[in-house]
């Protein structure tokens, strides 16, 4: 495939849409597991455009590809086919190392089973993303402390995760997700392991975060929670079944400043093309090795 042409074909369009405040753009995203007889698709030609400030709830039966979608958006997984454009940049052309950096700085994960590190006190669990973004230890603990304060856990900073209740653990996990001031929060059934009261408080926290202008993408099984969302997507067999927006685009909360800056300016389009082409070639090679 002619890589240069391929990249050229999407670059101008990406620039054009930046003004429309598009954060994530998925085009024909496909994730295949297995080959031949065992072949199955978690995602099949999945198209989705997510704007800044949306609070998206993704619902659907088990195995319809919700979690896979979240993992791909969160840069933990790669699509087998299709494009993922994050903030105007094709993810396929971002090195693994910079993807990790993006995960640390721009993306916050909240999991169903909290995924806290059992051996670390919760303050260090919360500070974890900051370890990889170059904060000093004092700055890390300070930030983590204020994040915990926000969730009313300031008196439990040096507890170990197992000493907290499920709701508290999930609030710690949310504190960890927002401590680095990310733009995107990805929540995979954050209330799945919680009772309704704890669920409610967790959802209130997420709502507050959303109102500050963060984009939240959340997977859930609980239809009652969709009241918090600005957009509800129902998935079926790796594709979008229904997609309902409850809030007009114009009314979405917006961050005070656009946090993600474009890496390259329009001026050096040529160099961008060549380096991108090089990078994707390199990546292809490494993927083949795998």
């Amino acid at each position: 495939m002619d890589l240069g042409l391929f990249i050229l074909s999407f670059l101008p369009r990406v620039r054009g849409k930046m003004s429309e405040n598009i954060l994530i753009e998925l085009k024909g995203l496909t994730k295949r597991y297995g080959y031949g007889d065992t072949e199955s698709f978690a995602l099949k030609d999945f198209d989705l455009t997510i704007k800044r400030g949306e609070f998206i709830m993704i619902m659907g039966p088990s195995g319809c590809g919700k979690t896979t979608l979240l993992n791909i958006i969160g840069l933990l997984d790669r699509a087998s086919r299709g494009e993922y454009i994050l903030n105007g940049e094709n993810v396929a052309s971002i090195s693994a190392r910079r993807q990790a950096k993006l995960r640390a700085k721009k993306i916050g994960f909240v999991f169903q089973n909290f995924n806290l590190i059992e051996d670390l006190p919760i303050i260090e669990n919360v500070a974890l993303p900051l370890v990889y973004t170059g904060y000093t230890k004092t700055a890390r603990l300070k930030n983590a402390s204020s994040a915990l304060k926000r969730f009313h856990l300031e008196e439990r900073e040096y507890y170990l995760p197992y000493q907290l209740s499920g709701g508290q653990q999930q609030r710690v996990a949310i504190a960890r997700a927002i401590v680095g001031d990310p733009e995107i929060i990805l929540a995979d059934e954050p209330t799945g392991n919680l009772d309704s009261r704890a669920s409610h408080s967790v959802m209130e926290e997420l709502k507050a975060i959303h109102e500050e202008g963060n984009t939240i993408i959340m997977v859930t099984h609980n239809p009652a929670l969709t009241v918090y969302a600005t957009r509800v997507i129902n998935m079926l067999d790796g594709q979008i079944d229904t997609d309902i927006k409850t809030v007009a685009d114009a009314n979405l909360p917006q961050p005070i400043s656009v946090k993600i800056k474009k890496r390259k300016k329009k001026g050096d389009l040529e160099s961008l093309i060549t380096t991108d082409a090089k990078k994707s070639r390199k990546r292809k090679k490494s993927r083949r090795k795998r």
Binding site: L76, R97, D119, Y135
Partner: protein
């Protein structure tokens, strides 16, 4: 970057502390290997110091002529160790000694010929005793103190011998009344005129255990054994400034005397100890190799424990990757852990090794030999061990898929 390294260091410290027993046992594996290497190196250093010390005791005016070996050192040494008659290979003869005496600025020349003979007294008969043939200059060069009697003199040198301290005990069961008694060598009777004081230094540049040797006139030794070659010629220079010139002169004189045959070596200063030192170098090199194997075993222990640690912390790796750790971050985290483990082991080993060396110095004459080179080499070695045996587990950790790792919930 420096910040991240410090974080990795902290993480490793915590991880090691949390698994104290496990970490200690792993360190012990490295420590034992390092300790044995330290012990051997310390021994070797102290032995070569002993030899050097002896040279400086004798004085800086010593020049030594030895027959040059045609074979390489190792073969030579092995033969020396295995065959009693290996001393009979020299091509230096008494005429050479005479030739050296002609050279300027020399105050004493003593040939040393060694043969192994059976010696009997009225009480005992001993086999394979080193009989040392030399001349009267010997005592001028090596000022051995005598316990009883006197060294050979011009008047009695043809039929007298001097006994080593231990040999005297073995032959006559006494040392204080040995002088004046007779010993029999190859059927000839000799009178004991002196007994050396206990020297207690089995390592010297002559390669002779003087406590167990018998000293007699070289001409007499030549007569009774038939053919005696000279193992070594010790020369005392008149002044210490021009050793190089004097040794050149000796070399020329000897080459003339031997009609161009250059199968001998003239050495002075540190070069004298070389043959003796090289034996220890080879032996301790072999020992160090054996010790290095135990270090490798220790390294495998580190690798083993790191693999366990990686498996145990699968979930943690997944979480760290999800919140933004790159593969390199994870790699460094685990590499640091193995590095610190093996460095700690190295430090333990260093201390343990020197404690052992010190304990050894109580029962042997070898004082612990501490040098920064040994310490540096040891620590570098453990560093390398840490990297070599830590890289595979660290790579394994770094290559984990975060999605799979997150499913491994403990």
């Amino acid at each position: 970057m420096a910040l991240l390294l410090r974080t990795h260091y902290r993480l490793a410290k915590t991880a090691i502390k949390e698994n104290r027993t496990r970490s200690f046992l792993t360190c012990l594996g490295i420590a034992i290997g390092v300790a044995s290497i330290i012990l051997i190196l310390s021994l070797m250093g102290s032995i070569s110091n002993l030899i050097k010390g002896e040279i400086s005791e004798i004085g800086a005016d010593l020049i030594v002529v030895r027959p040059a070996s045609t074979k390489d050192t190792l073969t030579n040494i092995v033969e020396e160790l295995t065959s009693a008659n290996s001393f009979q290979k020299s091509n230096l003869v008494l005429d050479d000694v005479k030739a050296i005496k002609e050279v300027d600025n020399i105050s004493a020349v003593a040939p040393i010929a060694i043969s192994s003979n059976t010696i009997s007294s009225e009480k005992n008969t001993l086999n394979s005793i080193q009989v040392l043939g030399t001349n009267l200059d010997f005592i001028k060069i090596e000022s051995f103190p005598l316990r009883y009697g006197a060294f050979l003199t011009e008047n009695n040198e043809e039929n007298s011998v001097v006994l080593g301290h231990t040999l005297s005990l073995a032959l006559f069961n006494t040392i204080n009344s040995t002088v004046g008694k007779t010993v029999t060598i190859m059927g000839e009777k000799f009178m004991v005129v002196g007994v050396l004081d206990e020297i207690d230094k089995s390592i010297n540049f002559d390669n002779i255990d003087f406590d167990n040797a018998l000293i007699m006139n070289i001409a007499t030794l030549d007569k009774i054994t038939g053919s005696t070659q000279i193992q070594q010629i010790n020369i005392k220079a008149a002044n210490t400034d021009s050793l190089e010139i004097i040794s050149k002169d000796i070399e020329n004189a000897l080459t003339n005397q031997k009609l161009g045959d250059k199968s001998f070596s003239v050495s002075y200063g540190d070069m004298i100890t070389h043959p003796a030192s090289s034996l220890f170098t080879i032996v301790s090199g072999m020992l160090a190799t054996v010790a290095a194997i135990s270090l490798v075993v220790g390294g495998i222990g580190v690798m083993n424990i790191m693999l366990v640690s990686v498996a145990e912390r699968n979930h943690e790796i997944g979480v760290r990757k999800a919140v933004g750790a790159s593969s390199r971050n994870i790699l460094m985290q685990f590499l640091f852990e193995s590095l610190i483990l093996s460095l700690l082991g190295g430090l333990f080993g260093l201390i343990l090794g020197y404690i052992l060396a010190f304990l050894l110095s109580i029962v042997t004459p070898f004082a612990p030999y501490i040098s920064w080179e040994i310490i540096l080499i040891t620590l570098l070695t453990t560093l390398v061990i840490g990297i070599i045996f830590g890289i595979y587990p660290a790579l394994k950790a770094a290559s984990k898929n975060p999605i799979d790792s997150l499913k491994h919930y403990r």
